[in-house]
Symmetry: C2
Subunit: 261 residues, 2 copies
C-alpha cells in the first residue's frame, strides 16, 4: 500500500498509478457519496475499482477520505463562485446558479455535508467567502432596487443557496439535460430573489453571459464561433428545442407529460 505518511526515506520514486488510484478514489467517493452520504468504504473502493484494504494505503481513515473530498469540493466550488462578477446583482445571482450547475457533482456532496454530520464546520469555513460574497451581492441588489425587500438580505441569500442546491438535486434526480438544468437553476434562483418569472426569463434570454456555453469571463482563447458566438440569437433558437415560441417560455403543456420514458 502507498505509504502516504513516510515520505521520509524513499529508495525509489512513488509509482504514478498510486496517484491515479488516489484520484480515482476521490472521484469515486464523490459519485458514491452523492447519493448516499454514509456509504460504506467498501462501496467507495469498489466504485474506484480497488479493494477496501487498498484504501488505507492512501487514507488513514474513512473520515480522512471524506474530509479530502469535502476540502477539494468546497475549495473548487468556492473558488468558482468567487470568480463571478457583474455590475447587475441579478446577473450575478443567475451566474451563481449557473456556476453551481456547472459544478453539480462537487456542489451536491459539499452541500449535503454542509448540513449534516461533523463536517459542517469544515465545509462552512471553506465556503464562507463564497457565502459572504453572495450575501454582499444580495445586499447590493436590494440597494439597487432590483431584488426583493420583503426578506432580510442575509436570510434571502441563504434561501437562494438552498433553493439552488435543491434545483440541482431535483434536476439530476430527474435526469434533465445540461442546458435545461442550466436555465432552470438560474431562473429559479432569480425567482426566489424576487423577480417575476417573465422578468427572470427575459433577463436570462437577453444576457449573453448567461447563455449556456458561456465561459465565466476568461474565454479559453479558442472555441469561439466566427460571427454569432454564443450570443443571444443562436441561444434562443437552440434553447427551445422545437418549441414555436419567441423565447424559451411556455413549456407548460408542450413537454408536460412527456418527461420520462
Amino acid at each position: 500500500m502507498p505509504t502516504d505518511l513516510d515520505e521520509s526515506q524513499r529508495s525509489r520514486a512513488p509509482r504514478k498509478d498510486a496517484a491515479e488510484n488516489r484520484a480515482a478514489l476521490l472521484d469515486a467517493a464523490v459519485r458514491v457519496l452523492n447519493d448516499d452520504v454514509d456509504a460504506s468504504l467498501e462501496a467507495i473502493a469498489a466504485e474506484a475499482g480497488l479493494s477496501r484494504r487498498a484504501v488505507y494505503g492512501h487514507f488513514a481513515t474513512r473520515d480522512d477520505l471524506v474530509r479530502e473530498v469535502l476540502a477539494q469540493g468546497s475549495e473548487r466550488v468556492g473558488a468558482s463562485i468567487l470568480d463571478i462578477a457583474n455590475e447587475d446583482a441579478r446577473i450575478e445571482i443567475a451566474l451563481y446558479g449557473a456556476t453551481l450547475w456547472r459544478e453539480v457533482q462537487h456542489a451536491s456532496v459539499t452541500a449535503e455535508f454542509a448540513v449534516r454530520g461533523p463536517h459542517m464546520d469544515l465545509v462552512a469555513r471553506a465556503l464562507e467567502p463564497a457565502r459572504a460574497k453572495l450575501r454582499e451581492t444580495v445586499r447590493r441588489g436590494v440597494r439597487d432596487g432590483v431584488l426583493r425587500r420583503d426578506i432580510r438580505p442575509d436570510q434571502l441569500a441563504r434561501l437562494i443557496e438552498r433553493v439552488a442546491v435543491d434545483v440541482l438535486t431535483e434536476a439530476t434526480h430527474d435526469g434533465l439535460d445540461a442546458r435545461t438544468g442550466h436555465t432552470l437553476v438560474m431562473v429559479t434562483a432569480l425567482s426566489v430573489a424576487g423577480l417575476a418569472w417573465h422578468e427572470a426569463d427575459e433577463l436570462v434570454a437577453s444576457t449573453p453571459e448567461l447563455a449556456f456555453g458561456a465561459e465565466p469571463d476568461r474565454a479559453t482563447t479558442t472555441a469561439r464561433a466566427p460571427e454569432t458566438g454564443l450570443s443571444t440569437r443562436s441561444e434562443q433558437e437552440a434553447a427551445s428545442d422545437r418549441a414555436p415560441h419567441t423565447q424559451g417560455e411556455d413549456v407548460s403543456q408542450a413537454e408536460s407529460e412527456r418527461g420520462r420514458a
Copy 2:
C-alpha cells in the same frame, strides 16, 4: 412490557399509561428524528422518558416505530393538504405553504424520509394524493395564466414542494417566530411559482385566508371570541412588532444593517 401483539386472551384491560407511553414515543421520535434521521433508539427512548428496553414493548422493531411515525406524519400532512381549496391557484399554493408550516414537525420528518432510505415508497404512496392535488393546482394556475409557463407544471410542482420544505428547515434552524415563518413559506412558494415579490406580498396581505391565525375553513365550532377572536385586528397589532410599514414589506435594512436613514 405492553404486549402489543397478543391481544388474544387478556385477563384484564390494558393500562391507560401504556397508550400514553406509546404516544409519547411517537412524539419523541418525531422530535428526535427531526434533527437526526438515524438517531439511536436509545436517544428516542430517552427523549420519551423511557428505557430502550421498554420501546420493544410497544414496537417490535426500530423500523416499526419509524414506519409508524411516517405513516402518521404523512397521513396527517397529506390530509391537511387535501383540505386546501380556493378558486385562485395562487392562493391555494400559498395555503399549501401555510399548511406545511403549520405541520412543520411532521412535515419535516416526512419530507426527510421522503428522499432518503428505504421508506421513500411508504411516504411517497401516502403523500401521492396530496402531490397530485398540488400538480393539478399548478396546472390550473398555468391555464388561468396566473402562474409561470416556463417550467413544466409537474416539475414546477415538485420544485414548489422542495422549496417549501427548504424554507421550513431554514426557518426552524434559524428559529424565527411562527408568524414570520408562516409568511416566509407562503411568499417563497409563490415566488417559485412565478410571482414577483411584490405581487406575492400583495396577494398575501390582501387575502384574509392567508392571514396568520386563519383557520383552514372548518372553524372549530367553539373557540371563537365574540368579536375579534383570532381575527385580523389583534393579529395585526402583534404582527408588525414595531415596524411602521403598511405591510410586512421592506425588512431589507430594517433589521439587517441599519445602514442609513
